[in-house]
Subunit: 710 residues, 2 copies
């Protein structure tokens, strides 16, 4: 029954995605009121973007498959536990590859539809705002529902496969193998978020610094050689990167909950056992329905309503989830069950789910408050730009610091509620609750870059001020929802990472971790420093990659005659190539840092230090991620606020100061900040998958120095 | 014997301070080769600075005494433990007031000598670099030795007073009462570091933004109305603030060690007991001698040697300490003793001291590497300024992030060594080891702002390019040593805070803290967010205060005829007044945050959450403090590097971009960064002093909700 329901819900999501995909595809670019010349131009530009995006994906996937193959081999040979009775490493590696493959397919679908939706959104802007909005929004829905459906289907099918092949295996071993799926998804996210993040901002910063600042041409101007790379970047970073990140979160939090739950529900029988075990996955299924219902409430009648309409869908889906989850929690879970050494109830689990759901929404709305120029924080940053770039930076940074405080409090409360009502299982369920509305959340997230691209295309195709105004309105709403989405992504990454840590401790059979143990403390310290090392790397990578881009753009302006006058065409593809190569090269070092640190720590110093490491990295990582994302969002919107004509408007000294902040904010909000999600999650899922290795072979250095009962 | 030795060493430090003080005072301003007009001008300017500094101190001390009185009353009524047999709160409050008073006296002496040394350094620059250097350096020595002597004398006298009045009292209760002394010192540091930090940067940023950027007049130009306030700020922030911070660290780490050691050494008898108990204080005494010896090695023969000469003194004193501490550790401590439930040795204690000493030096040298423009990191920031302010900021921030990684690793290793060789006592001894060379460290630290002021005075008195070149050479060396000093201050603050946390846990009788306990976890999360909240506050405070300063300077330029032409004099005192008022007003909110958070947390949620809170704040606080201090130092020196004529030199676009970074760096390195030292230490010492209150009345909210065995 439960299995059938989950399969049906997963299939529903895929059908929704397919439905919207067909609708978007069915719209022809020339169905609008555009002239044939315009249609030709639109086609040309959008092909260039689509080709650039696909070129990046292809090259990324080539490196990815090499990396995945290597990592799979390592898993096969290190993750072993004789007690399991089967080759644990082999099965984990297979799940790992399936998870990675599923994530890759999700990313591919998202990119494909986004690069079709963008030009159709631009073309439809000739007809009406509503029509244009619907195309962008439906493109987003393909991504949102497609990805959620693939995650749910992937997990349930792999689970079914495992229990069919090994019907006598312990459930907790099955769940542990299943974690390989999540590791696969998360590894793809490393490439997507970090590589994609560097790509998009190298192009953006490079295009802005030469185009806007040096050459004095507007954003998205077709004369700028980096303009196509910039638009490709939106797809690479904000679609494929964001998608892979959240795919990972869904898979990881589900696996974490199921690993922890396996021990508690092992004594149940038959359908009761299955429904309790698979309840975490079922919650994601319910979320698909709740998200689908909320879509019907998205019908903005005017420009001003776009933003609130999208935001309301999130709120509505949260409310539906809250109502729907109550009966399911009560019926699918046993009334009372043991977890660790305490008794918990199904009512308790419902409360943890609700806490996660509400916390997610609250963090999203707080993020909006700090990054939208309708509220005072961003306006203060704009005001501070009047005394120059330095005060703009000072106020922007302090806004970011400030904005991370309340979300951290909310997280603390959620953790206390989760733990108090359902132990470590509660933490995982809070994460799942927070990710419950992911289908609609991701729809809205993906809507943003599609509109952004549409605006870029409209500008490049010279569609005129009226059209640009429409796409700008769509884009502005996308900016706010992107900020909400980022808050969501970080919050859920934090809870997911905590849930994975809990699952790791459960599997390593460590019921308590003494913070005063020197090895744990050292782990905390080292872990705390990782987000700093990682951010330093990613920020400099953007700087370096942007610098190559700047050189290339300058070279083209210098060597191509008539380029600035608009009589010659720039060489877009070289810029696309620079971004692609630079991003893939620059992600190697931070990638290795994330992957090797937990492995080496566990191997050399044992599981206690790993526990400290994960918590240390989680704490500083979340604080940094939130403050970077929000500083970046605030700088962006402070600039936009000034561009509405406030404080001197575009071209004033105040505006120039705000542009400096916006440029600093670019790697903050789109590279380093979001990449930290991957850092904290990937380290935790690696630790979980490699528990058998750590337990058997870990802590060799401590043993050597006789330092440890560890 | 031990008591006598400590008294003698403390007295030695005070005699050294007195000796140098007399030497500096004996030099007359007109002993140089200056003309009578110049002497008059020098006297006038230096009086204005001295008056401004004293005006600030007076106003600060007025508010301080009110605050101290109130806080003392709270201590009297809340810190009580019937088992002690005496009114614990009353005695703690008395120690608190004595500690505060001693710190105030140290700060006063430092300010007094600095405001005399600055003008004498400037005047002597007419004679020779050597002469000028000696005056600045000897002024620093008055501060370094005076403060260390007062701290040691204060602690030993209060200890003697307590055991004389209560000869039968348990040693651990005596030590707990003595912690009040450290709390007093640390509370003064709150005012000194936070208030002083806001003062100095409000004046600096305000003076720069209008003077250098808008009016185009050079730094320290006498036509700038904020120039006196700026020079007062150097004394207020870098002398009084830094001094109070380190006074607090010495007192706190000593008390932490003695609180932890009290339990272990209670079973010893007579002199053996006294020497073991007071060993931590004795180490500081040995440091006085080691520092004194190292002074004789400071004899720079040329400009280039100033910096290395100062740095060598630090290295020499570290080596002397390493050698000297071995015999004392072996003879003054029992060969074996129980700590917690493990046996430790005196050799182990020596190793922890050595670890702290070496770690301190290492962190200092790493800081130098990241902030001096002789090395590549700062030069990369300078290079990045070529593409504008945004890339300068991106590279500077990432440098700061990067620079915090290695120190954190060193701290982790120190913690492991400390814990492994002497348990919690080892952590405290590592902190004491790190602070062992404080007398010479502080000498070098205080040397910096004195030279900086001398340069400012030379500029204002129009002493000419040659003289300015000499004072600039002194100042440049001071910049590097200031960076080393900041690294030192943060590192020791971190270890001190950890030692205080260890003492707190010892007193609260919590041998283990389970990180997975939801209440501890919530504490970690909330604690982690405090440095962010605090930094946001202090950065904005600088912004706000600088803004009032800008308005005033603009007003004066507008309304005083002939000011910019140099025919009329600006109204310096209004600017001094603005900085004074703003800094004292703006420090209230962050001050309350630091003081109330541990108190409320302990009262409402109990000691487990306090433990999480302290560790959470420590981890993010240290990372932020190091990265802020180093980003700021690097921006400053990247600008200075360009000013040496590199990359276009002064006045170029690259230089303008670097000035933006320097301005952002000002509150980073001189306000928010150093203030975080206070945050982490003060919260920990408050928790330690209020342990009896928490144990008796703590956790009322948890009890209410039935959430806790806590």
């Amino acid at each position: 029954m439960t299995v059938g329901l989950i399969l049906a819900l997963g299939a529903l999501a895929l059908i929704v995605a397919l439905f919207y995909s067909r609708r978007v595809n069915a719209i022809s670019i020339d169905s609008g009121a555009s002239s044939p010349e315009e249609i030709e131009k639109l086609t040309e530009i959008s092909s260039a973007i689509a080709e650039g995006a696909m070129a990046f994906l292809k090259r990324e996937y080539r490196i990815l498959s090499l990396f995945m193959g290597l990592f799979a081999i390592i898993i096969v040979f290190t993750v072993n536990d004789e007690r399991a009775g089967i080759p644990l490493g082999l099965w984990s590696a297979i799940c790992f590859l399936i998870g990675a493959g599923t994530s890759v397919v999700s990313g591919y679908i998202g990119m494909k539809i986004a690069t079709k939706g963008n030009v159709r959104t631009a073309a439809a802007a000739r007809i009406s705002l509503e029509k244009s909005f619907r195309i962008a929004f439906e493109s987003g829905a393909v991504m949102g529902f497609g990805l959620t459906g693939l995650a749910v289907m992937g997990l349930i099918l792999v689970y079914l496969g495992l229990i069919t092949l090994h019907p006598t295996l312990d459930q907790h071993i099955i769940m542990e193998i299943l974690s390989g799926f999540a590791l696969g998804g998360s590894s793809v996210a490393l490439f997507g978020r970090v590589g994609g993040g560097i790509y998009t901002k190298a192009a953006d910063v490079g295009a802005d610094l030469v185009g806007k600042v040096e050459a004095g041409i507007p954003e998205d101007d077709p004369r700028n050689p980096a303009v196509i790379a910039d638009n490709v970047g939106d797809n690479v970073g904000d679609i494929a990167g964001m998608g892979a990140d959240l795919f990972g979160s869904v898979a990881e939090s589900t696996c974490a909950a199921m690993v922890i739950g396996a021990a508690s529900f092992a004594m149940l029988e038959g359908e009761a056992k299955t429904s309790a075990l698979l309840f975490p996955l079922f919650v994601s299924g319910v979320g698909i329905v709740a998200s689908l219902i909320s879509l019907f409430f998205i019908n903005p009648k005017s420009e001003e309503k776009v933003e609130s309409s999208l935001k309301n869908a999130l709120i509505i889906s949260t409310i539906i989830m809250l109502i729907a989850l109550y009966p399911f929690s009560m019926s699918m879970l046993p009334a009372e069950f043991m977890l660790g050494n305490r008794m918990h109830t199904n009512m308790g689990v419902f409360i943890t789910l609700a806490a996660g759901l509400i916390a997610g929404l609250a963090i999203g709305l707080i993020t909006e408050y700090y990054t939208s120029h309708r509220y005072s924080p961003v306006r203060q940053v704009a005001d501070a730009s009047q005394t120059g770039a330095a005060t703009n930076i000072i106020y922007g940074l302090s806004l970011g610091y400030n904005s991370s405080v309340l979300p951290m409090f909310i997280m603390a409360i959620t953790v206390v509620i989760g733990f108090s009502f359902a132990g470590m299982y509660g933490i995982a369920m809070a994460a799942i609750g927070m990710l419950g509305t992911i289908a609609v959340g991701l729809t809205i997230d993906a809507y943003g870059p599609v509109s952004d691209n549409a605006g870029g295309i409209a500008e490049m195709a010279n569609m005129g001020q009226d059209i640009r105004k429409r796409t700008d309105a769509l884009d502005a709403a996308g900016n706010t929802t992107a900020a909400i989405g980022k808050g969501f992504a970080i919050g859920s990454a934090a809870l997911t990472s905590l849930a994975l840590t809990a699952a790791f401790l459960t599997r390593a059979e460590l019921p308590t971790i003494n913070m005063l143990d020197p090895i744990v403390m050292a782990g905390l310290f080292v872990g705390a420093s990782l987000p700093y090392a990682f951010s330093a790397m990613t920020m400099r990578s953007v700087g370096k990659a942007a610098f190559s881009m700047i050189e290339e753009v300058r070279r083209q302006f210098r060597t191509i005659p008539g380029l600035l006058e608009g009589t010659a065409k720039p060489d877009y593809s070289t810029c696309v190539d620079i971004s692609t190569k630079a991003s893939l090269r620059e992600m190697i070092a931070p990638g290795l840092l994330v992957i090797l640190t937990p492995l080496l720590t566990g191997w050399l110093f044992g599981v206690h230090m790993v526990a400290g490491l994960l918590i240390g990295a989680l704490i500083t990582g979340v604080m940094m991620a939130i403050s970077m994302a929000n500083s970046g969002g605030a700088w962006d919107n402070a600039k936009k606020y000034i561009e509405t004509g406030q404080l001197g408007g575009k071209g004033s000294d105040t505006h120039k100061a705000a542009v400096v902040g916006d440029t600093v904010g670019d790697p903050f909000k789109d590279t380093s900040g979001p990449s930290l999600n991957i850092l904290i999650k990937l380290m935790a899922i690696i630790s979980l998958v490699f528990v058998p290795f750590f337990v058997k072979n870990g802590g060799i250095l401590l043993d050597m120095f006789g330092l440890g009962q560890h």
